[in-house]
Structure formats: C-alpha cells, structure tokens
Symmetry: C4
Subunit: 447 residues, 4 copies
Amino acid sequence: MAVATNECGTIPELMDPLAIIVPTRNTVDNVARSELVEYKKHSVSESDSFHRAFSSVIVIAQYFGLMPVYGIRGSSASFIRFSWFNPHVIYTALSLIGTFFMTSLCVIRFFKYGRTFEETQCSVFYGCSFSRMLLFLLLAQHWPALASRWEKVERVLAHHGYPYHQRHKFNLITAIFLSVSFIEHALSHVRVIRLAVLCVVEDKMDGICTFFYNSFPHVYDYFPCSIWNGIIMFIINVICAFAWTYMDLFIVLMSIALADRFEQLNRCLQSIHGKHVPPRFWHHMHKDYNTLSSLVKTVDSCITKMVFLSFANNLYTVCIQLLNSLHPPQNAVQMVYFCLSLGYVLLRMIVVSLSAASVNEQSCQVRNILYSIPATSFSVEVQRFLHQATTKDIALTGLNLFSVRRTLLLTVAGTIVTYEIVLVQYSGIHADERDSTAHGVARRYCL
Amino acid sequence: MAVATNECGTIPELMDPLAIIVPTRNTVDNVARSELVEYKKHSVSESDSFHRAFSSVIVIAQYFGLMPVYGIRGSSASFIRFSWFNPHVIYTALSLIGTFFMTSLCVIRFFKYGRTFEETQCSVFYGCSFSRMLLFLLLAQHWPALASRWEKVERVLAHHGYPYHQRHKFNLITAIFLSVSFIEHALSHVRVIRLAVLCVVEDKMDGICTFFYNSFPHVYDYFPCSIWNGIIMFIINVICAFAWTYMDLFIVLMSIALADRFEQLNRCLQSIHGKHVPPRFWHHMHKDYNTLSSLVKTVDSCITKMVFLSFANNLYTVCIQLLNSLHPPQNAVQMVYFCLSLGYVLLRMIVVSLSAASVNEQSCQVRNILYSIPATSFSVEVQRFLHQATTKDIALTGLNLFSVRRTLLLTVAGTIVTYEIVLVQYSGIHADERDSTAHGVARRYCL
Amino acid sequence: MAVATNECGTIPELMDPLAIIVPTRNTVDNVARSELVEYKKHSVSESDSFHRAFSSVIVIAQYFGLMPVYGIRGSSASFIRFSWFNPHVIYTALSLIGTFFMTSLCVIRFFKYGRTFEETQCSVFYGCSFSRMLLFLLLAQHWPALASRWEKVERVLAHHGYPYHQRHKFNLITAIFLSVSFIEHALSHVRVIRLAVLCVVEDKMDGICTFFYNSFPHVYDYFPCSIWNGIIMFIINVICAFAWTYMDLFIVLMSIALADRFEQLNRCLQSIHGKHVPPRFWHHMHKDYNTLSSLVKTVDSCITKMVFLSFANNLYTVCIQLLNSLHPPQNAVQMVYFCLSLGYVLLRMIVVSLSAASVNEQSCQVRNILYSIPATSFSVEVQRFLHQATTKDIALTGLNLFSVRRTLLLTVAGTIVTYEIVLVQYSGIHADERDSTAHGVARRYCL
Amino acid sequence: MAVATNECGTIPELMDPLAIIVPTRNTVDNVARSELVEYKKHSVSESDSFHRAFSSVIVIAQYFGLMPVYGIRGSSASFIRFSWFNPHVIYTALSLIGTFFMTSLCVIRFFKYGRTFEETQCSVFYGCSFSRMLLFLLLAQHWPALASRWEKVERVLAHHGYPYHQRHKFNLITAIFLSVSFIEHALSHVRVIRLAVLCVVEDKMDGICTFFYNSFPHVYDYFPCSIWNGIIMFIINVICAFAWTYMDLFIVLMSIALADRFEQLNRCLQSIHGKHVPPRFWHHMHKDYNTLSSLVKTVDSCITKMVFLSFANNLYTVCIQLLNSLHPPQNAVQMVYFCLSLGYVLLRMIVVSLSAASVNEQSCQVRNILYSIPATSFSVEVQRFLHQATTKDIALTGLNLFSVRRTLLLTVAGTIVTYEIVLVQYSGIHADERDSTAHGVARRYCL
C-alpha cells in the first residue's frame, strides 16, 4: 500500500523536485512550501479533519447543555459561532441554575449534619459539576477561535495528510466511554430502586417518592415530594453525571488528536532514517514541530483548568472509594457494585492520565530520531531542532501546577496513599461522631 | 495607540537607523546604545520608576517601625540613606525590645504549662514577628544600594520604558492587602471583646482588663492589669500583626516589579515575531535579559531570608488552623470566624506563592519565542541567548533551599498533608495531657 | 597482556592506517568500517557472544516451562525459532493452567475468609507467577528477533570484542542466584514439615497429607487429599517459586550484558585519554554509542513489563514481611527463618535495582570522558556526542512509568516506609476482625 | 593589598606576556603553562597546602586510633605511607576488636529484651562506630594516593595560590567541633554520675561500679564489675564517641577544602568581569575547572561511604531524639540536657549538610559568570566551558544514591517527618510490651 510504505505523506515526492529546483530558482522557502500545500490539498479526505471528527462529539454534549456553540455541523470551522443569546446558552444557563441549587442544598446539609469527609460527597459532586458546566461555557466562547486555529494548522501540515480514520476513532472512543459510564450510573441507582421496590411490596408505600427521597435526601429535607420536582431533580442528576464523564472524555479526545499529529511527524522522520535528505527537509520538519508545539500551548491554555479539575476530582473519588472500603458492604450485590465502581474510577483515571501523557510521550520521540542522524545530514537546522526537542517541555498541564507526563501516574498513586493515611486518621478521630450522625443522615425512610 | 501597537518601546525606531548606520559607522555597540538611551530618556514618566512606586509602600511600613531609612520621598534613589542614629531606627529598636519581651513571656508560659503543639502559637507569632523586624532592619541597611542598583537597571533598560501604571498598581495592591488583613485582625478581637462585654454586663467587671487578660494571658500571669500597660501590649500586638502582613505584601510587590520587567521584554520579543531583525537586536535583548537576571539575583540575596520565613510561617499557620479543625468550634460566630480565618491564610499563601513564582514564569516565557525564530535570523548570539534561557534557572529562592516555582504550590500542599498526619498523631498521644492542661491554660477569667 | 593494555580492542591499530588512508582514499566511512569489522572478526571468541552466554540460562528456564523457544543451543541466534505448536509451549500452557487454577482458589478463599492485607499473599504469589509465565511466553515470541538484533549489534561493535568471560560470569551468577533461592524456598517448607512430623509422631496421622493440607490450604478446602494431587500442587508451587526467582535473575543478566557493553566503550575512551585521535575516531565512537543506546531501547521495550512486575512484587513482599514483623514469631526457628527471609528479599531487591541501574550508570560515564577532551580534538562530532550523552536518558524503565536509576533505590525505600504506615493503620483497624478470622484461616490441622 | 585587588593570583600578569608571545612563539599551551607554574611556585606559602593544613587534623585522629598512616608530618604528601604492620594499625585493630565486642553484646541484649526501636540505640551506636573505624582504615590505605593527587592538583593550579589561611581555618573548625562535642559527651555522663553519687551518698554503695553498670548495662549483664574492665569499656566508649564526631568533622573539612578551590576560580573569573581576555585564558580556566571537577570525583569515590553513613546515622539520631520527646523528661536537668542534645544533633547535621553542599554550590557559581561574557570574548572554548558547567553535576554523593545539594536539607527534613510517623505508630503498637520490658531493661540499679 502506498500510504504504508511512504509515511511522510507527500514530502518525499516533493523533496526531489525541490532538490532539483534549489540551484535554479532561488525562491523563498515559504513560497515553494505554499505551492506544494496547494497541490496536495485535493487528495485530503476532509472528513478526518479535527473539526469534522469532533463535531459529532460536541453535538452529543449539546444534548446535555454543554458547549453551547452554533454551526458545529458546518463544513469548516469558520461556521462556528458563539453568542450569548441563543437557545443552547439558555439551556446551559438553566442547567447551571439547577446545579447551583443542588450544590447549595448539599452544602447546607453538610453543615447541618455531617462535617465528616464522607459527607462531602454530595457537595463535591454537584459543586464540581457546576464548575464543569461553567468551564465548558467558557470554552465554548473560545471554541470558534480554537477550531479555526486547528484548521489553519491542518492546512500548514497538509503534506502530512489527516490522521488515519480519526473520525471513526473518536466516535468509537465516545461510544465506549459513554456506554460504560451509563452502565455504571444505572447500577448506582439499582440499589435505591431495589429499596423502593421493597418498600412498595412490603409497606404498600409510594415507590417513586421513596426512590426520590433516598436519591436526593438533601432536597426532600426542605421540599415536599411530587412526581414533577422529582423528575427535574433526576434530570439535573443525569446532566451532572454526564458532565463528569464528558469532561474526561473531552480531555482524552483532545489529547489523542494532538498526539496523533506528533505521531505522524515521528513516522515521517522514521521513514527517512538512513536516507540522505536535503537540509531544507529538516527546515520543514522543524517548522512543523514548532507549529505543533505552539498548538499544544494554545490547546493547553484552553483546557488546563479542565485537566486540573479532572485530576483533582478523580483523586477525590478514588480516596473516598478507598475510605469506604474500610466499612465493607454487607451483601453481595453491594459488594459487586463496590468493586465495579472502584475499578471503573481507577480505570478512567488511568485512561485519562495515559491519554493526556501521550502528547508528551509522542513529542519526545523525535529526540531519538534526531540523535541518530548521520554526520553528513547534520546541520545548524538539525542542531536547533535537537536542542528544542531536548529542552522544550511539550505537555498538557493542570493550571501550570503540574505537567501531565507518564510518571505523573505514579505520583498520583503515591499521593492517594498519603491522603488515605490522613483520611483514615481523621475518620478514626471522628468515628464516634460519625456513627451517631450517620444514623441521622443515613436514615433511609420508606414513606 | 502607539504604545499598544509598538510593544518594544523605542527599539524598532532604533533598529532601522541602526541597520542603516551599521555599514557606514563602525561604532561599538555600547556607544550606539547609550546615545539611544539618552535620547529616549525624556519621554519616560519618572513617577512609575521602582523608587517612586515603592516609596509610599515604604512610608506606610515606617509608621509601624519597619524599614528605617531616610529620604524615601526624594526624587531619586540616591537620596535614600541609612544611619544607625535616626528616629526611625530608635522606633524600630523599641518595637524590637517590646516584641522580644512578649516572645520571652510566651516561651516561659509554653514551658510552664503546655508543651503541646497548639500552645506554640503565641511563641511562634511573637518570635516570627521579632525575626521579621530584624530582617527589615537588615534590609534597610542594604536598601539604598538596592534601590540605586534598580535605578541603574531602569536606566539601562530605558528603551523599554517603565512598566505601565506601576505606581497605581502597587498602591492598589497595598490597599487591598492591608484592608483585608485589618478586617481579619479586627475579627480576631471580636470574640474577646464579646466576652469582655458579657463580663461587664453580667458580672459588672472591669471590661477593659478582661479584654487585656484574655488577649495577652502570657503577660498578665506576671503583671498586674493597668490601662497603660494594656495599651502598650495592644500596640505591640498590632505592630506584630502588621509586620506579618507587610512581609508577605513586600514579597508580592518585589516579585511583581521583577516579573513586570520580564513581561516587558517578552512583549517586545513577541512584537517582532516573524519580522526580520538585525543581529544586534538580539545582542541588545540578550544583554537586557542578562541585566534582569542579575537583578533577580541581587534582589533574591536581599529578600531570600524573608521568603523562607514567609513560607515557613504560612505553612505553620495553615497546619495549626487545620489542627484546630479537629476541635470544631461550638457556636456559629466562632464557626464563621474560623472559616474566614482559614480561607484568609490559604488565600494569602497562594497569592504570595503565585506572585513569587511569576518571576520564574515570566523569565521562562522567553524560551518559546526564541525557539520559533526563523532560520534566517538565527545567529550565535541567539544560540547563546537560547542556551541561557533554557539552562539558567531564574527564580526567587528561600535561603537557596528551594526555588519558588509554580509547582512549589503543590509541594507545599503535599507537605501540609504530611505534617498534618504527624500533628494529629502527636496530639492524639498528648490528648489526655492537653485536655487537663488546656483547662488550666484556657481558663478565660472574668475579673 | 595485550588485551589488558589496549582497552580499545582493535581500534587503535585501525586508527593509524585510517589516518594514513584518509588523504589518499576518499572512501565513505561505512565502507572502511565494514572492511575493518571483517578483518577483525576472526579473532573474536564466539563463546562469549550474547547468544551463547545466554543459551544455558534459557535452557534452565525451559526445564520449568519458561521461554518456550526452539534451537537455543544452535551456534548462532538465527537458529532460534518460536512456534505455537511445540512441546515447550504445551509445557508452558500446562503450567499456566495449573497456576491459574491455584490463583482462582486463592482469590475465592480471600473473599470467603480474610479480606485483610495479610491474606492477599496467596493470591498475589500465584497471580504474579501466572503473569510472569505469560510475560515469558510473550517474550519467547520476540526472543528470536531480539537475539538476532543483539548479534547484529555485536557484529557492528566487533572491534571492541566480546565482554571478557561473559559466559562464565552469567553461569556463575545464575548458579548463585538459584542456589540461594533454593535454600530459602526449602527453609520455607521446613516449618510445615516439622509440623507434619510432629503430627505423625504424636497423633499417628498421615504426615504427607498434613504437609499438603498446611502448604496449600486453599486447595484442600475443596478437594480431598491424595498423594497424586498433592504432588501436582507441589510441582506447581515449585514452578511458581522458580518463575519468581528467574525473572529477577533474567533482569539482572540482561542489565549486566548491556552495562558491560557500555563499560567496554568507556574503557576504550578512557584508554585514549590525552592522546590525539583523528575526528573519525569520534565518529565511530558516537555511532557505537548510538547503536548501544538503541539496543537498550529495544531490550527495554521487551522487558519493561517484567521490570515493573519485579519491582512491584518485591515492594509488596518487603511490605508484607515488615508487616509480619509486628507479630513477632514465637520460637527461635521461626525467628531465624523470618530474619533470613527478610534479608533475602531485601538483598534480592537491592541486587536487581543496582544491576538494572548499572545500565544507566555506565551510559552516563561517557560524559566525564568527553568533557575533558583537549581543545585540539574537539569537533562538531564530539559536540554532538556530548550533547547526546548529556541530554539522552539511557535506562531500563518499568512500563515507562519510572526509569531505573541508582536513586530509585532510595525512592523505593521511602515508598516502603510510606506504604508501611498505611498498612499498619489498616491492620490496626481490622485487627479485631483479623484476630477472629485468622483463627479460622490459620487453623492448621493435624489430620 | 595586592591579593585583594587581584583575585586571579598570577594569571593577569601572565596573560599579557602570553598575549604578546602568542604571535611570535607557537608553543603548545602545556609548555607555556608549565613554565608559568614554575616561575610562580616560589611565592606560594606551603603551610596552606592541603597536606599541611590537614596533617594536624589527622594527627588528632591517630590519638584515637583512626587514619593509621605514617609520615603525616612530612613536608610533602609523598612522605605519607600506609603499611599493615605498624603501631598505628595495631592500635586501630585493638579499637576495632573492642568495638566489635561491644556491638555483639548490644545485639544480644537487643534480642534478649527489647526488640523495640528505642532499644536499637546501643547496637546502632557501637555498630556505626565499628563501620566508621573500618572506613577510616580503608581510607588510610588510599590516603597516600589521594594526598599526592591533591598535591599534584595544587601544583597545576599553582597560579591561583593556596586558599587563604586554610591551615588556621581547619584548626579553628577542628577545635570548635571537638570541644562542643566534648561538652555534649561529658553532659551525657552527668546524669549517670549524679545517679552514682546519689547511690554513694544514700546507700553507701560502690559509686564507680554503679556508674559503669548504668553506662554499659549490656556488658555487666555478663561480666562482673571491676575497676579495670570498667576503664577499658570507658575508653572504648570515648573512642567510639570521638569516631562519630570526627567523621562529620572530616567530611566538613574535605568539603571546605574542595569548595575553597572552586571559590578561588570563581573569584578569578569575577575579577575579569567586563575586561577583554584572550581566548587562551578561557582555555586555562576550563582546564582548571576540569581538574577540580575530576578532583571532586576522586575525593568522592574515597569518602562516599562516609557521607552515606554520616547522613544515615544523623537521620537515625534525630529520629530517636524526637521519638524520645514523646516521653518528656521528669526533671529540669534532664530537660535541659535533652534540649541541648537535640539542638546539638540538629546543628551538626545542618553544618555537615551545608558544608558538603557548598562544593556543589561553588561549582555552580561559574555558570552565572559565563552567561554574562560579552559577545566579543565568546568562543568555542567558552561554549564548551558553559555547556560543561550547565550539564555536569559536581557534588559529593552518598554511595551515588543521592547527591549532596542544598535542597537535600529540606528532603532530609521531610524524611525525618515521614519516618517519625512510622516510629510513632510502631511505638504505639508496642507500647504495652515496651512498658513492661522497659522496666526490665531500664532498671537502673544501685549496687
């Protein structure tokens, strides 16, 4: 297959004519380059462009009130618009109000009863969901610019072509992520539904209200139960759960999109291993590398808050789950759910970490190729390229406080262990208080 | 606006003539440069110079006995003098004596009763305040030299102009910092005043003495209560509290002043992005970068002890506050004060960390610009500049034991967690002893 | 001795003719080099080649069902083959099935009784052994390619000769490792045998069944005792114990083989210290260094999972042993065994760490030599070599999550301490439960 | 003063003639250099040479059986000899036997009673002293070579002269170190002597035997008390205490000697700041830097085990002292001794850390000077020098497991905190056992 044997896209074909042209025409690099880009553009399958590959992912988000932008189904990124007065933003605003309301009730309940670490779960869940929606709203404002920027980079790197089957890959990952997440979320309701069914059967009670009462105790401390407000609470809960999953998914997809670009470059460089190439080839490659590294910087400035929130929230969830492991569940159903749930959170955390780290990994690969360039091909341009590749640190960051590298996973593991110690200590001290208040709080009532 | 479009100050104007001049006149760089600086000097607004921007901040400090230097209101740094025999120094000496007296009484009380970690608060507060005053006294000796040095740097970098509205920025930050701190300090007295009022109302006691007794128990174990010594104690206490806040403020302002300088340089470099500039432009920029980096070193050698003390003290305070969270306050007023106080300390720590880290951040920005210089502009000078920017570590340090980078914030957070574990353990072991002695110590008396 | 005085092998002899040839013949480096390699090949003792030195080590592994490859005793690596249908693989498959069976029984027992950290020992031991066998099966598939790759590298580096007495060194290390491990394993059975003997003597019971019952309690909860299934269990147990030791041994030998190669290069470079050498010498050395560094990368990609598993398992074992130290053994025999066992595990961990780290250490040595090259010998080639040596990080890694450097040992020590804290805390909380279940689990019966 | 104004020693004088000579005589650098060294040698005060400055320090060690070398008072390092058959070695051997005897008794006692962390003090004290003596014996073998090496370096760097007043500095540090240590050791006996005096006064007992019994309980469990074996035990104890202090002192002095050399180089480089110097000046400086950096490597390979032992032992001692702080002393005398002792250990640890780190610090200073070299002076030699200064890590190490940098101090502080947690936990678990055994062990008897 032509594609497989020639990993550099159109560059090698181009190199020969260029090599011939160089002595005769003394054109500036940029001109030759742009010509080249023009003539290769037609062979590019637009459906694997970043904009097209991402559009369906964003459409799904919009069903749940995230990423309120217009024109996402347009043929190019230039159709995307953001405006404060459009139905998407209104939907988002309603979600934000609902989530804020839930958060407030949780915080009030926390100060009224609990004040132990375990009782923070409700506040943290709705509070983080609120932050997530806000971050996606802020991102939506920058999305038109970001998508255009990315499209421009794609045009500059057109000789590499689009990453192979990017659109299908993205859709597949989205499908897996969301369905696994859906199953986990459904299972988390099973326990309460079972309880409600028991109540209905045994005590002839209102099963639906029992379900709502037990799912949202922080709400029904203050409001009477009705089918309508119950459904609204349930919708808010589902939107929050979706926002949680979607943010992780979003980080994974953005990381893969970036890493794939670096991988293309690496494959191109590897394909010329041992061959003699003209100096201007290195010039092009260095420029491409620079373009990508500044794209990473732009993307990072847009999603750095999300990366931080994602890692912080996952860290919190793992700690809480491990802390719960101190009070082993009574029956087998809870046991299975507990194991699945912990496994799910750990797996998701690892997937997010490794995906985000792959940007850094792929960008570092270029070093090894540059080290082994034969002395005859070595030039000042290669030296600059190598210096940049060895000293510049290309990676996604969390609020610039940490870079996401592969080693971060071990650091996070170590941090979980350390935090766990503190939590165990604190929960040991508050054990008596918790035991008494837990009864008050956890009193699941059959109405 | 001319300023906004031309981020390099006077450099671009200069570059063209220079480019023309270079082949004709073979002048040494320094000569051309100094001419240039002369001709641009007049357009500079002196009121944003470091000396002028800082002068009002220092005048405030002098009201509280810190920074005893002369001539701070002079038009240039050369008017500043330090002498051991002047009223400022005498005021400082009196404060030092008063604080030393308080510290001694606290230490004695610590060994007599407590010996638990919670009981160290009094000693640490006054001990650190004593150190702070001493450090500011030592700094005052070096301040004339430092201010002159900075003024010299400003003259060398005159083509960049002064940072925009530096004076107003400094005054605004000072106002916010001091007023927030004043509110927190006032609130910390409210509890005791409330107690005193209760005593007056219920028991018809001497409210003022009750207030003093409860605020300074370490003093009134040994001395009889009088309105006069009470006021003196109160003044010492206020001066100490001010010194605490002021040191953090001082570090923040120094950091911003340095970071702003690097930011100017970065904006200048960014403004020529993609343009062709003569090699001597890079020569100038490298020299400017060098000048700034050695200024950072000079400043760091002056305030490195303060940075260490600030981080250590803030770390201690957060640990103590968290440890207190184990014994939750009884009533709502205390609860609110506790939350505000913890939030205030955390916020201040974050502000100091991020400000101090901004020096490092801004100095690193230059790398990204240098990496993307086109091959035609690349020269040995740029290579040296890049090598320096990638290998030299420009940052404020704490006694050279740690550099203040953005990642330090996470390290500090991790350290707090670890220390918290130890403290909880120790306090668990000493729990019984503390409970008994606490009664003895905390016995708040209505006289 | 000629070999001892001339550390560079055949290079110096070669350098002179080359130096003479250079002006006359304008041959490409590669041609001159390959000639050279041809002419030196005859003097090489093939028995110290990697393939030959490793063959007997692999043959031993095959007795225990690991590394199921063909033709390992062939005269060159090209004879090695892997096929899914051969007796070795069938043997491996049987071991895998047996180990999987044991692991399942352990996991079931864990959920039925225990659920404390101490009770994970059985599951972890068999589970890790299962992973080990799987990893060796996967490695066997890549072994023919890896051995050929190594042989090719040996041909390229033929002018350095083979590492001195590599074959004997490998056999000696294998002998020591396996015999020490055998003694430890035998001792671990002594306690149970002693118990069985006591049972026979005192209660006239079936000693063999008692031995089996106490060694494999997870099996005989579900199956009746018979001499035949007992022997099968015993064989599986021995195979698992061997796989544990062998993986560590394998990592040690691979590391030494790599480190020895770098050491050869270092000795060669040190031998020309202060002498004047032609630039093409540095060119050759740089190429050799590159060849070795890419060999390390290839080897690392093959064994990185093993390195991770080895470190994780050793970490776990040390933690468990230290945790057991909280319940000191009753009698002197157990005490001695406990001390020996802990010492053995620690020693093995240190040996594996330091061996694996020696690859990194030896590869870094080259820096110091390159720094002190006289100015007259300095060239672009040397500069590239030095840049690579100072920026490239050559080391074995564990799943790319950590690099094995010497400092890792301290990090591991610190991690053990931290984990120990958690374990002590958890075991403190579960103490009561454990005490009760331990009775149930640890009920060692005399049948 | 000529010395103060001309920080480069003889180099500037030399530079001018060299600059003149360069065009006329085309001599190799080395020749010119060695001439220079010859002509400058006479002006050097030999009494500040490393050998002379260190000789009195070693003589003191020999009084206590350490460093058994001959001819230490000779006028040059070439007089130093080591031989296995000389009185010094015999003295050392006797000390080793005595210390080994003490260690064995402590270990036996540990296994008989204690097995808690506090009870390891005796074993660790004598065990580490034994290791120290062994290490000094091994060092003594390498001392003649090391001293010669240093003397050779001093000749090569003769144009810098000897560090100013090195001999006096060394003697002063030795005096302070040993006298403070003597006071601390004496105080540690005061408590026991006081007890013995009380016994004599109250119970009319044998005071001397009481003193010995309480000082060396591990000995008098097995041997009857006599004045003679008591004195021998006391001598061994004093020798061990001296060895402990002396090793720290030795590391401090070696570090200062190395750091002073780098400081000389730095001062020389700083003195030419802004001046124009010929390229060969940089060549000389680079060579000097290289010479020093390889000297550091040699010294490190000799004392790296000592550095490790020193840090490990100090870490252990601080942990033990802090652990003892959990059981606060009853009376004021013990309280004062406890505070002094903890302060002494902490101070010593900080002094050793900072001294050893100063080698790294001074070697890094050179970077800042090289960065600011004007473009006209910049050459390939300077580039190499700068590259080496920024990438090479010159520092003393502990068994190559850690480099001693300034930041190590914070790491050690953090490690102490972490270990303390474990110790508190363990001692909490063993509390009951310890309380009972402590009575048995700590039963201080009035005979």
